[in-house]
């Protein structure tokens, strides 16, 4: 009964989204205000019904309703209740339903928070969002319903959730990532609505900006947590693999980062308009492309979702309509757009333009690296694979000018600058960063490779120039405290974002350069030393979890005789499927992680263990969290809070 309600409710939501697509767009086209006014209620209604549908699936999972095929394949009765909930997005059909919840949710929020927009624009934004909703719901209902039943012969027990996905990181990683992907559809809708209206002005940029920032914040957090999950769960201490699926999330992030910088120029200076629109279209297009890559099985990846050409064909057709349509509209309209501002070579406009160039080049590198193996094969040139070395090298090359620019950019003013005025300050910052980094690395480590020194210096440089900028901006207001108060929320968001990037650069560099690992065989009470830490193996004890059993290697970590931590490196065997999982034990710290994985028992009675010492690895995720906070901070900026009382009174213009 409940699964049927889920399916039926989704059908109703689909009907509402068809109306949401037609009414406001037609209303905006003919200037019919009544049709346009229907949009917000339709958007909210659609969200409610999607939510009911999602609740039905969660209910089925919580009550172990194995007549539902999805639940039977992705859950089991012994699964803890919280993993029963997360199992609803552990498989393809459920993940798409979660996507729908996000899509409908964003649409409803846009509907409620856009009162200050002119009706004609508001209607078009919601109409485009409605169209996207129709596409995804049609896909769910026709191709990938999570409510398929296994009647009359249903299993008495489910196949369980993949043990890899039974992890706290997995509870939040997909929803955050989807919030980001789907959030970019709002930027996309604003861009399309602006192109339809033919008015690409700075008001458009101002409206679009907070939505883009929020979506980008979610995307950043989603990627960060995904990387942390891989590190904690996959058992060999890696945190980024340049896997096609990871690349699929990185590409929209890079473009969205370019977009929000470009939006600021369009808002403040009225230039780069057509470029900004293109980025808004591209950011969501790459989200869709990522979905296509992940869901169609076109590229073999460790994430390997079920492959099904019919599903792939549907998504590709949808992609072609949405992106192709968007780009066609762009090609038709954008040549009429003119930029108004003027600027000189040394100016913030040019700095941000360069920022965009670097980010887009980075995106193209990832896109090429991801798609080239496939294209290469189809052109009959044989199978090739492009992996880590390629991406690492390309990104290392791009990083140098990008990081230097990142330090200088915020110091520049709009329109023009006297270079001589900045020269001395920048030189001072550069020297200070080199001095501080050298002292830090040469005192802390025995060997310092030139590249490590360079990359770490760049991270320090970003922090120093940012501090310099804060000092500069506050000095004019007399006291420091007085000056700090006057800085805007957006400014602080920028500071946070840039410092976050500095942390990521430093974390990646230092952990790549100075991680040490050792494979050892240990008997109880053996001690192994690694980087000033002593690891004492206490033995192995049996463990029993809710749906697994196994054993844990107990290790006491000592530093100069003092106990630092007691770690339990587990080997689990899950009851259903009998899969073995290595659950690494991690002692996390600000300056280092101690990471332990248990191997097999050896014939001499000892156990094999792998020990990692990873300096500063946590900085990477700290940086990621700082960057995403920058995205959420903008919600606190008064300029972007929509004014609810100022309900639009004026009649819409007739298009």
């Amino acid at each position: 009964m409940i699964p049927e309600i889920g399916y039926f409710s989704l059908t109703l939501a689909m009907v509402l989204s068809v109306l949401l697509c037609i009414f406001p767009l037609w209303g905006a086209h003919t200037g019919n205000l009544r049709l346009m006014r229907a949009a917000p209620s339709l958007a909210v209604g659609q969200f409610v019904f999607v939510l009911i549908s999602f609740a039905a699936l969660i209910y089925a999972s919580l009550t172990d309703d194995f007549t539902v095929a999805y639940v039977a394949y992705h859950s089991s009765s012994t699964l803890p209740w919280y993993y029963k909930i997360t199992s609803t997005w552990g498989g393809h059909e459920g993940a798409i339903l979660l996507w729908l919840v996000m899509q409908a949710g964003w649409t409803a929020v846009v509907a409620m928070r856009s009162q200050s927009l002119p009706w004609i624009l508001r209607a078009r934004v919601l109409g485009v969002l409605g169209f996207l909703g129709v596409g995804f719901m049609l896909y769910t209902l026709l191709m990938s319903s999570p409510f398929e039943l296994l009647l009359p012969y249903y299993p008495v027990e489910g196949r369980d959730l993949n043990p890899l996905l039974q992890d706290p990181g997995m509870i939040i990683h997909p929803p955050l990532l989807y919030m980001g992907y789907v959030g970019l559809s709002v930027s996309f809708s604003f861009a399309i609505a602006a192109l339809l209206t033919g008015k690409l002005d700075n008001t458009w940029a101002k409206w679009s900006r907070p939505w883009t920032m929020t979506a980008w914040g979610f995307l950043t957090l989603g990627i960060t947590i995904g990387s942390w999950w891989a590190y904690a769960e996959l058992g060999w201490g890696g945190w980024w693999f340049w896997d096609p699926v990871e690349n699929a999330s990185l590409m929209p992030w890079l473009v969205a980062t370019a977009l929000l910088h470009s939006l600021s120029v369009t808002e403040k200076r009225g230039v780069f308009k057509s470029w900004t629109v293109l980025l808004a279209i591209a950011a969501f297009s790459l989200s869709l492309l990522g979905t296509f890559i992940v869901r169609s099985g076109i590229i073999v990846s460790v994430h390997a979702f079920a492959t099904d050409p019919d599903r792939g064909l549907f998504i590709l057709a949808f992609l072609a309509i949405v992106v192709g349509g968007g780009l066609t509209l762009y090609a038709l309209r954008v040549s009429q757009v003119k930029s108004e501002g003027r600027y000189k070579l040394v100016s913030r406009e040019v700095a941000l333009w360069l920022n965009n160039i670097f980010l887009v080049v980075a995106t193209l590198i990832v896109l090429l690296g991801t798609l080239l193996p496939m294209v290469h094969k189809e052109m009959g040139l044989g199978s090739i694979s492009i992996g880590e070395p390629f991406f690492n090298k390309m990104f290392a090359i791009l990083l140098v000018p990008f990081a230097i620019l990142m330090g200088i950019g915020p110091l520049l003013r709009w329109k023009q600058n006297k270079w001589a005025f900045l020269q001395n300050k920048l030189l001072l910052c550069a020297l200070a960063s080199i001095a501080v980094t050298s002292a830090w690395l040469f005192l802390g480590y025995d060997v310092v490779a030139p590249l490590t020194l360079l990359a770490t210096t760049l991270a320090v440089w970003i922090v120093f120039t940012t501090v310099l900028d804060i000092v500069d901006k506050t000095r004019v207001h007399g006291s420091l405290l007085n000056g700090l108060k006057r800085l805007s929320v957006s400014y602080w968001a920028m500071v946070l974002g840039h410092v976050g990037i500095a942390f990521v650069i430093a974390g990646v560099t230092l952990t790549s350069a100075y991680s040490v690992e050792r494979d050892v065989s240990m008997k109880p009470l053996d001690v192994v030393s690694l980087n000033q830490y002593d690891y004492r193996f206490e033995g192995v004890k049996d463990i029993r979890g809710p749906n697994y059993s196994g054993h844990a290697g107990v290790v006491t970590v000592l530093k100069e005789g003092d106990k630092v931590a007691r770690l339990y490196a587990e080997k689990r065997q899950y009851d259903i499927g009998m899969q073995f999982m290595t659950e690494a034990a991690i002692d996390a710290g600000f300056t280092r992680d101690l990471y332990l994985a248990l191997g097999e028992q050896l014939s001499n009675g000892g156990w094999s263990l792998r020990i990692y010492h990873k300096p500063h690895v946590r900085w990477m995720w700290l940086g990621g969290i700082l960057i995403s906070l920058a995205g959420f901070m903008i919600l606190g900026d008064k300029r972007y809070r929509s004014n609810k009382k100022r309900e639009q009174k004026s009649q819409p213009e007739v298009a």
């Binding site: 073999v300 590709l316 072609a320 192709g324 094969k377 199978s383 097999e600 050896l602």
Partner: protein
């Protein structure tokens, strides 16, 4: 370049990408071009899976047409094809197994547990059928690497001179046999 053309550029690039994606959708991503076809069987010297003192070299295999089937007890698709492979053996096809050990690393895992592996293998073959003349154990995956094996099951068709004629990825079933293997087999056996 004029502005109109520049504005069209993103659309053209996207259409190009779509064409490739469409083709890619119907190409099997697991279909690999290993470039081993037409080449000689690489030389090897590996132990037998079931007997301690027996070793195999590529020269032991020459003189007859045979299938080299890469498999492992950990691989469900391998289990699925055992039945049909056994039928083929009964029809007179010579099948040699290359046992692929998935993740053993002698530096990390200590001595290999032969007894339990043999146990697993005999249980599986007794249950599902045994198509193999004998099995070669590729513990460190060296021969698999030389052959360009990317997983299991994979099957190579080798002629009596030791030349590789076919490399099939995925299971062998009656359909695959009729389409890919049977025509070549017919040419080889007059």
């Amino acid at each position: 370049m004029n502005r109109k053309f520049l504005a069209l550029l993103p659309l053209l690039a996207f259409i190009l990408i779509c064409v490739f994606l469409y083709q890619g959708l119907f190409a099997n991503p697991r279909e690999l071009q290993t470039g081993r076809i037409g080449q000689q069987m690489p030389s090897f010297n590996l132990p037998d899976l079931m007997q301690d003192d027996k070793r195999w070299q590529q020269t032991d295999l020459e003189g007859e047409v045979y299938l080299l089937n890469v498999w492992g007890t950990w691989c469900p698709t391998c289990l699925a094809e055992l039945g049909y492979l056994t039928e083929l053996r009964e029809q007179g096809v010579k099948i040699v197994g290359l046992y692929y050990v998935q993740s053993y690393d002698s530096d990390f895992d200590g001595p290999f547990d032969m007894a339990s592996l043999r146990d697993e293998v005999s249980t599986m073959l007794n249950r599902a059928g045994n198509p193999y003349q004998f099995n070669i154990l590729d513990l460190e995956r060296t021969l698999a690497l030389d052959l360009g094996v990317s997983g299991a099951p994979e099957t190579f068709l080798v002629d009596s001179n030791g030349t590789i004629l076919l490399h099939h990825t995925g299971d062998i079933n009656p359909r695959v046999w009729r389409a890919k293997f049977a025509p070549i087999m017919q040419e080889l056996t007059p």
